[in-house]
Symmetry: C2
Subunit: 369 residues, 2 copies
């Protein structure tokens, strides 16, 4: 992997380029989430057509079903799902702690019960690397321990230190240079813990750094406060990935603070629940006011859904629980996110990110029609 | 509407061409079912790409949700759903009798409770025409009374005669020449009733004739026995539509007996349940033997699903209840039906339908791999 840091806008926003095994990714970038070897409701052709450059796969889900060894035999995750561009896989840690039942964490690793069938499993840093190598990920994430937001400082400190030891073990477990490893900064909402975590990870000279443990229930100002100091603790010449974030406005604010990469289920999951993003904020298509509305979701949006279909039709599809509704709404939301990132990249290149950011917030404050 | 009867193969199979308000349809044809203003899981572009020439909409469902007046205001069913090619709508009669609760039939019409919310509604032949005109259908079906398969001869006879009077009223209710009316032959499994029904409808000089009341639970031989005499009771110069049928082999056998048009939920509904049609018969993708199978559903099929994805991937998507699985499997099944109809049309044009039919059945008898 190679990261080119192309340009920094006067605001501090960065424009970069990631060279990965399966291609090039222009940053800042949003990565659609493809949990179970599919970005829900989308084909890979649709993802390409709306400009998705890299997608995320979930190690926890793929390990349980269909199994990483099966995917390896079938040619790796790329061949299995027909996606030719880069893939980042998470470590499964977050899902073990949030979905898995009765998990037990030791220094060695984590034992848990599958949320699917109750079967017992054990994952450690080495196995998590082996799984991601079997999947053929362009970017692998280290296994980390994710304490809940409510955890006290001692517990967060212990989890952060253990995650650092797991990062060392992850790096040592790598057997191929086709898959790059990112470390994950933890430390909860404690600045000293986070700074120490970042410093230790940077000393390991990993290929990229993620900020974990945000967007876990904390107030927005708390997240912003972490982002105010966190990116500066990370090296300029390595990519910075803010995990699991967020709303469009969160992306803009994080880019302003020097973040390069994002993933979030929000555009896809919310689409399936009828929430559609527009430049004036989200609307919910199930609202009765849309049932006779002949207009597109967002008249300034160039996506297939907005060019072809009315809010009235989407309202009808949603009320009728039709699969096509979920498809068209997912396509719109992902287009909205990816178009936003394209606009962000152009603004940085042209040294006008601060103006862009102002105009973005001003649009957002106007009432959606 | 104009129907060109282009050619009859020595077997009796017919090749024709329907000229409708929204375009030309080459027959014999299969019409994908788009119950709620969408062929489930498909976009209109996908339907066009696999060669769908005409689709079916369900009057009963569209009347209840979103309502025909709303669809009229939004530009008609074509504009509402973005489909530019012809649409046939059924009368809603079949759904009133099968889905509606507590229906009461009188000479005037039928009162029923919505299966959605229990609200009470009344439909008569005139209103059913008005609804279909509001939808802007290319082909409208008359309201008919559909007695259950178990009904005794007297009940069938009364329903058949009432359906004839409703056909007269339907014809008299038409207010536009943009929408063509088809009559529906009833008569259950009674040859004399069916012959009398056909004779009376033909005397009304309608634009096409459907055979109703088949595929309602009768043995296959009973349906074939009706098809052995029924098409000959209908005029050569008008299209013949076998409603709600059926499996690929049923289509081939009905074409051999002079049928021009078909519709059925089988390819779409069965896809969502994991059943995929191949030239060697159906397979069920949830079967464990497919979980490591790197082959396409049908190696001779040219559809996107077969060109791009393995049975193992479809098996995984189905097990994971992913929307993409329903999409890819629906696309395959509809392609299978539409490709079959294309092959049938070529065989008729080249006077080799009998050989085609033999080869089709021979393929079907071979074990699916």
């Amino acid at each position: 992997m190679r990261f080119e840091h192309l340009h920094t806008d006067p605001s501090g926003a960065r424009r970069g380029r990631l060279h990965l095994t399966h291609g090039v990714v222009e940053t800042p970038i949003f990565m659609p989430v493809g949990t179970q070897a599919t970005v829900k409701a989308m084909t890979v052709d649709e993802l390409e057509s709306i400009g998705a450059q890299i997608i995320l796969g979930n190690t926890y889900h793929l390990y349980l079903q269909p199994g990483h060894e099966r995917i390896r035999t079938l040619g790796g995750l790329h061949d299995f799902m027909g996606w030719k561009r880069p893939i980042l896989t998470d470590s499964g840690g977050f899902q073990v702690f949030s979905l898995g039942d009765l998990n037990t964490v030791t220094e060695e690793g984590v034992e848990f019960q599958s949320h699917r069938d109750g079967s017992r499993h054990f994952l450690d840093p080495e196995k998590v690397i082996a799984i991601q190598e079997a999947l053929g990920s362009d970017i692998m994430m280290q296994l980390d321990e994710c304490p809940p937001y409510e955890a006290d400082r001692d517990r967060v400190a212990r989890a952060t230190e253990r995650s650092l030891r797991w990062a060392e073990r992850s790096k040592a477990a790598i057997t191929t240079d086709r898959c790059s490893l990112f470390g994950i900064v933890q430390g909860g909402m404690h600045e000293d813990l986070r700074r120490a975590s970042a410093e230790a990870l940077v000393a390991m000279d990993l290929e990229g750094y993620a900020i974990g443990g945000l967007s876990v229930g904390e107030p927005k100002e708390t997240m912003i406060a972490v982002l105010d100091y966190m990116p500066d603790c990370l090296p300029r010449e390595k990519p910075r990935y803010l995990m699991g974030v967020g709303k469009p406005e969160d992306l803009v604010e994080a880019v302003a603070r020097g973040i390069d990469m994002f993933d979030c289920v929000m555009p896809t999951r919310n689409a399936r629940n009828g929430q559609l993003f527009t430049r004036h904020g989200p609307i919910n298509i199930k609202n009765a006011r849309f049932k006779d509305d002949p207009n597109p979701v967002d008249e300034t949006c160039g996506c297939e859904t907005c060019r072809r279909y009315s809010r009235a039709y989407l309202h009808h599809l949603f009320r009728s629980r039709e699969i096509l509704g979920m498809r068209l709404m997912t396509l719109h939301n992902l287009s909205h996110y990816l178009t936003l990132m394209t606009a962000i990249r152009s603004a940085i290149e042209e040294n006008r990110f601060s103006e862009f950011r102002k105009a973005f917030h001003s649009d957002l404050e106007q009432p959606s029609t």
